[in-house]
Amino acid sequence: MTFSPIDWIIVVAYLAFSVAIGMIGRRYVGSVSHYLVAGRELGVYVGIATLAATEIGTITFMYNAELGYRYGFAAFVAALISGLVMIIIGRTGFVISRFRALRLMTVPEFFELKYSRGLRLFTGTLVALGGILNMGVFLRIEGEFLTVVSGINAKYLVMVMTIILLLELLYTVVGGMVSIVITDFVQYVLLSTATILISLYAVFHAGWHNIVSKVATTMGNAGFNPIASPKFGLTFIVWQILLWFSIHTCWQTTAMRMFSTKDPETSKKVMTWTGFIFLGRGMLPMLWGIAALTMLGTGVTRGGVPLPVLHGHVLEPIDAMPAMLGSILGPGIKGIVVAGMLAATMSVNSSYLLGWSSVISQDIIMPARQVLGKAPLTSRRQILVNRVANLFVGLFLMFWGLYYTPPGAVYLYLNVTGTIFLAGAFVSVIGGLYWKRANVTGGYMAMLMGAVGVIVPFFFLHWSENLTGFTAFTLAAAGLIAGSLLGRPATFEAAETETA
């Protein structure tokens, strides 16, 4: 189960190569737009690579595999929705074309254009808070994956997390988006190879017939039919459709890729083709989770599924997939797979570090300076502020990851924490771009009611994730409409008049 010397050589060589090519980005960073949106020079293919690499990480594999383990084939509905929604957005250009035409660098920046500086500051604070808390669980889960697969003693988890973070920070701080795009390209190729390899290995070892039989005997019809599954159902489907529309348009790291493309047409192509990748991004790891259930699901039943057991040790469902990989992958292949997972980890985390730190610098610190009457910062100073914010976010992640363990399925935790700001932000963006009556009062009410619509039902009333998410979007929409009809009409026309 432990790493062989050839595995270590592959992993260390990959890490050294990845950091070395990431440092190349430094020589191309001349201004803040180079640092944050790669000078808006992304073409279609590298755009697909960086968007896919940003949204496919070890954390993605872990939570999707956990969903597959717990809910069987019915979990595929979440992957299907995420991919189809992305394809629809790409084909229609819904939100993303207008966003790109406005030449934004962050999502909250739109709130100043359409609404007010105050609302940008408020939205920026909510986005940064929700985004960083959301990312806060990444390091621990990624560290768990690496220790379980490689067989490293669990007491070295903190050290593994620290090394991953320091390597990511190194090239992200130095080269910003340019470095991230370069490393994302390499990381995308490696993580995709690992994804395909693992899928073949998992089905080969577990056996397709055994996989289907295990789900049927363990979960019955609910393991296949998402409407019949007690965890999913129609409210889940409606919430997921709304959530994925909001993620693909307003999630800072995804939006930054759209802002970085050469023109609105390129952004549409990138989004469409990445939508097809998103189908595999969800379904393939879910399949690994179901294969892990088939091979290791022999423990006592909890929550309707047997707990995974490996060599007599009872594990949590989220650790079933890495435990399965550790036991079925041979020397050399294990090294390639772990290097692929490290690639996935680094591409996601570096992009998220830049994404959330850019919101802190551009949407909290800059507007706050303007409100206080201070002179605007030069491009160089803005890059410096970004770098410091990057370090701050990195440090916070270390400490939060060590002390916080998410309750329940990680996928649902991430969705709920994201909804805190996504519900209001998505509704306000739609209103701002497509409804002339939308105004500042409506924007504030949407952000407030969206956040309250998550926090109160989920944390205090203990409603289900599905109902909570659905409620948050409904309240945010109601807030925007009510506030806009009560307040004065807006005068914004930028979305229609500005060009790329």
Partner: protein
């Protein structure tokens, strides 16, 4: 159950093949995209200095 199994099997096959196919295309064509991006960023840098 059978209907859902057929549906998810089909979806899985489409997802797997799309994933592998797009990866192959992006791997081949992405490199030239990167080189073009470097050239344009270098040109921007020179314009900024001038």
């Amino acid at each position: 159950m059978n209907y859902w199994l057929v549906f998810w099997t089909g979806a899985l096959v489409v997802a797997g093949f799309s994933f592998a196919f797009i990866t192959a295309i992006v791997t081949v064509k992405g490199y030239s995209d990167l080189i073009q991006m470097f050239r344009r960023l270098t040109a921007h840098g020179k314009e900024d200095r001038e």
